[in-house]
Amino acid sequence: MIRRSMRNWLPLGLAAALTITPPTLALAEAEPADWEAVLAEAEGQTVYWNAWGGAENVNAFIDWIGDLAQDEYGVTLEHVKLSDTAEAVSRVLAEKTAGKDAGGAIDLIWINGENFAAMKRQGLLFGPWSEDLPNWQLTDPSANAALTADFTVPTEGLESPWGMAQLVFYHDTTRLPEPPRSMAALADWAAQNPGRFTYPQPPDFLGSTFLKQALIEVTPDAAALSQPVDEADYAAATAPLWDWLDALTPNLWRQGKAYPQNAQRMIQLMADSEIDIGFEFNPNAASNAIANFQLPDTVRSFVLEGGSLGNASFVAIPYNANAKAGAMVIANLLLSPQAQARMASPDELGFGTVLAMGRLSDDQVRLFDEIPVGIATLTPEELGPTLPEPHPSWMEKLEEDWTARYGVAP
């Protein structure tokens, strides 16, 4: 509808250009399962990887992957730096609206969670392909459910994992030697130290993660959270959360009248001594911030007792991508032991690897054994268990209710 009406309104010149533009021919695309053919097709392709550009170390890592891809497979990688993944989603949506079903501008997107769920639901993704990648064999989805269920949404081969992340808190040991290690203790601590804790404003991803983490701890029956929200007793499940938040909010930074917008703002508040506890969805966040001079080297990480939420970062290919073969080569490269070991190093990204050590050769395992430990990074043992995400419908409902309770009444 919109397409037709828009064409009618377009000036003649534009319409003429439209009819002259030759239809993009759908090239014979290599089957993901035929890897030799994929490699052959990928050679000489340019892959436009749309990824958030706000992290120094991620940008450097993507550059490094690009050099590797050029050397080993003749694939050119261009990092299109975004300030928000939604910009890439908008792009694919506009291409679909304009009927550009092939030759799209985006070949690969760094994606996960809600963005993936939305693009999958709207049929904006190419695939299945990810489980045909040769290096997929090095992972063990049966031991790591996060590889095939992104926020509980089955990935079904539409996205390929490349790094594990987990909710980790950090504190400055000079100001706060012993941080609280449960949500209940956190509220008590905040009552004694008003104004020294806050969380990003939901629906910011990290703020919502914080709500979910608290919900898992305080709800009477955590198992109910894996069901869609309308099949559970939402009121009963969330009542303890709202009680807990009602008690916490007056003791928050600015008495809860303002919130930082995102994780980056929270690190800044920590650096400015405005708060004493921060958190990030990245076990290496504190070490990264120390390396970037953002935080002093007295900052350390900690996790809450009973485990913390965790999930994987993925890459996906839009349904109309121009260089699908090249994109698959990049995704496979991201899964290679060489790239995974580099990514896992605290000097680079410090994300957890998605590979299963049991499926690697001794030489490959050694790459991981040699990884240094970051100054403020916890070891896998210290990180503790990863909690499963609630069904995504919970997050939507929580965000809505949080906004009604705390987000619109200063």
């Binding site: 009406s5 064409r7 939604a86 949506l93 304009a98 985006i106 939305a118 303002a258 906004t403």
Partner: protein
């Protein structure tokens, strides 16, 4: 030949913009009424509006947008007028003008970041107090993100006041204020009173469009509001952006409805302002002619100069703060200066941004050049052929300013894709023209129309045709406003983020797309680097706009304003 060209100019300009503007509007209107086939919206429905009005934060968000927009515009205009009235022609005025004009090239977000670092409870001013007061932790008080948007208003004023001042300075010479003021003062009117009575009534109509632009911008501003404005709830424009960027794609319908509401709000703000104009002109009519010579002008003059200087100082100090951050190592509260210094941020990002400098300036030069040609051609058409009806339709030009970019762009992006130009340098230049042209037009049209027609009449009487009159009389007389308009246009082009990204498809990176992506990491060191680089790129055209008239008129005393 030239004649027919100018005759066709308004139509040509409209045609060039019609596609993008209607496409952009359609991209907002259709989803607001439930139409977006790519998301399964195939039937007209009012559901998006129902969802919008069901959002509990709406009344407050709407109130905030309107209040901050009107207040920022009012304060900016009042300060501009007070500064000019109290100090025009003095040495202090020249100094203030020199201090304020470069501030135009500071991107809004950079100025806001700088201001935030000054006034935050952990900012520079608080750090100055921390030592004597013995704070080791900043006080927990709500200065930034305050619920009434006062710091947001301050952030807007420090940027909009220099803009209005520049527009005023460009418009003034054509009014020949020195003579009028001398006459009024000879009759015993005080300096400020004389200015208000004999200059302002003639000046205001000439800067009306820039004032409207400031109002529209302030009501719908996003980046400054995200840094300084409240968040519980945020102003409507920020909320629309949040819905637009929400991973839940169904939110885009609500975002489109919100964008339309924001458009209505902007129009309502403009109508309110217009109402205020009429009321004020009625109320002041008696005062203007009652013959009061004015007294007690001292406090008014002090107010104007004081706040003008404060505003310049805030932005400059903020910039200095960002510059220090760009070379800072660890820098914590309550330290006035960093513990260590490092060039790392510049070494990492300097080269990549330098590489994009050329393309950014090329796009700025091309788009502002096209915009200036179209604008002067339209205005010439008006002068030569009295093509008012054609130019009246040019209000369409201002639509890109009135509709929030984030909602306007998806439609524009679709148009770009349909045209097959998408992802090319040409397409990026074309879309910049869409956003640059309104500024070129509103900067130039009033001074152009206000030029004394007797100059042209004399030229005609001396036997010169319309072309010679344009090139040898009108253009030289209007050199300063023309260059100002070009500089404003170029700066607007340099600042375009979403249009460049959306139409460029990631194939045409510029300084700004790079800078904003890097700055989204929130590290003040990187924000410092990117802000300075962007300021540098936007400063160049402004420097030229100041330098060229100074050179051209070095021996034409009457052409220097004042």
């Amino acid at each position: 030949m030239a004649l027919s060209l100018t005759r066709a100019a308004p139509a040509l300009t409209l045609l060039a913009l019609l596609g993008p503007v209607t496409a952009g509007l359609a991209g907002t209107l259709a989803p607001a009424f439930g139409l977006m086939p790519a998301l399964g919206g195939t039937e007209v429905s009012l559901e998006p509006f129902r969802a919008l009005f069901g959002w509990p934060g709406l009344p407050r968000a709407v109130g905030l947008s309107l209040f901050t927009g009107l207040a920022a515009t009012l304060v900016s205009l009042a300060l501009t007028v007070l500064i000019c009235a109290g100090w025009q022609g003095t040495r202090a005025f020249t100094a203030l003008e020199r201090a304020l004009s470069p501030l135009l090239s500071v991107p809004h977000a950079a100025a806001a970041f700088g201001l935030a670092f000054l006034i935050a409870p952990s900012g520079w001013i608080a750090r100055l107090l921390a030592m004597p007061l013995g704070w080791d932790r900043p006080p927990d008080i709500l200065i930034l993100q305050d619920p009434f948007g006062l710091s947001l208003i301050a952030g807007l004023v420090v940027k909009e006041m220099p803009f209005l001042l520049l527009m005023t300075l460009a418009a003034l010479p054509a009014l020949r204020p020195a003579q009028s003021l001398a006459t009024a003062q000879a009759l015993g009117y005080g300096r400020v009173t004389a200015w208000f009575k004999v200059i302002l009534p003639r000046l205001y109509p000439q800067i009306r469009l820039p004032v409207y632009a400031v109002l529209a911008f302030s009501v719908s501003v996003v980046d400054v509001a995200m840094i300084l404005g409240p968040g519980t709830p945020p102003p409507l424009a920020v909320q629309v952006l949040k819905w637009m960027n929400d991973p839940d794609l169904a939110m885009r319908f609500r975002a489109a409805a919100g964008a339309l509401l924001l458009l209505a709000l902007t129009v309502a703000g403009l109508l309110l302002w217009r109402g205020g104009e009429i009321a004020l002109s009625r109320l002041s009519a008696r005062w203007l002619t009652a013959g009061g010579r004015g007294h007690g002008e001292g406090p008014l003059r002090a107010l104007g100069l004081g706040f003008g200087a404060l505003s310049a100082a805030l932005v400059l100090l903020g910039l200095i703060g960002l510059a220090i951050w760009s070379v800072a190592g660890l820098w914590r509260f309550p330290e006035m200066l960093p513990q260590g210094w490092t060039l790392r941020s510049w070494m990492r990002h300097g080269p990549e941004m330098l590489a994009l400098f050329g393309r950014t300036l090329l796009i700025a030069a091309m788009s502002s050049g096209i915009a200036m040609i179209l604008t002067t051609a339209c205005l010439e058409a008006e002068q030569r052929h009295g093509l008012r009806p054609g130019t009246r339709a040019l209000w369409l030009l201002y639509l890109p300013l009135l509709v929030p970019q984030i909602a306007f762009l998806p439609g524009l992006q679709v148009a770009g894709l349909l045209s097959g130009l998408d992802g090319t340098l040409a397409a990026v230049i074309a879309v910049h023209v869409v956003f640059v042209l309104p500024y070129a037009f509103l900067s130039l049209s009033d001074p152009y129309r206000a030029l004394d027609p007797r100059y042209a009449a004399v030229a005609h009487a001396l036997g010169r045709g319309p072309s010679a009159t344009f090139w040898r009389v009108r253009l030289p007389l209007l050199l300063r406003p023309c260059l100002t308009a070009a500089a404003v246009s170029a700066a607007v082009s340099v600042g375009q983020y979403l249009p460049t990204l959306f139409i460029g498809g990631g194939r045409v990176p510029t300084l700004t797309t790079e800078a904003l992506a890097l700055a989204s990491g929130g590290d003040r060191r990187i924000i410092g680097v990117t802000a300075l680089a962007q300021t540098g790129a936007a400063f160049l055209p402004f420097a030229l706009a100041l330098l060229i008239p100074a050179l051209a008129w070095r021996n034409r005393r009457g052409m220097r304003h004042g």
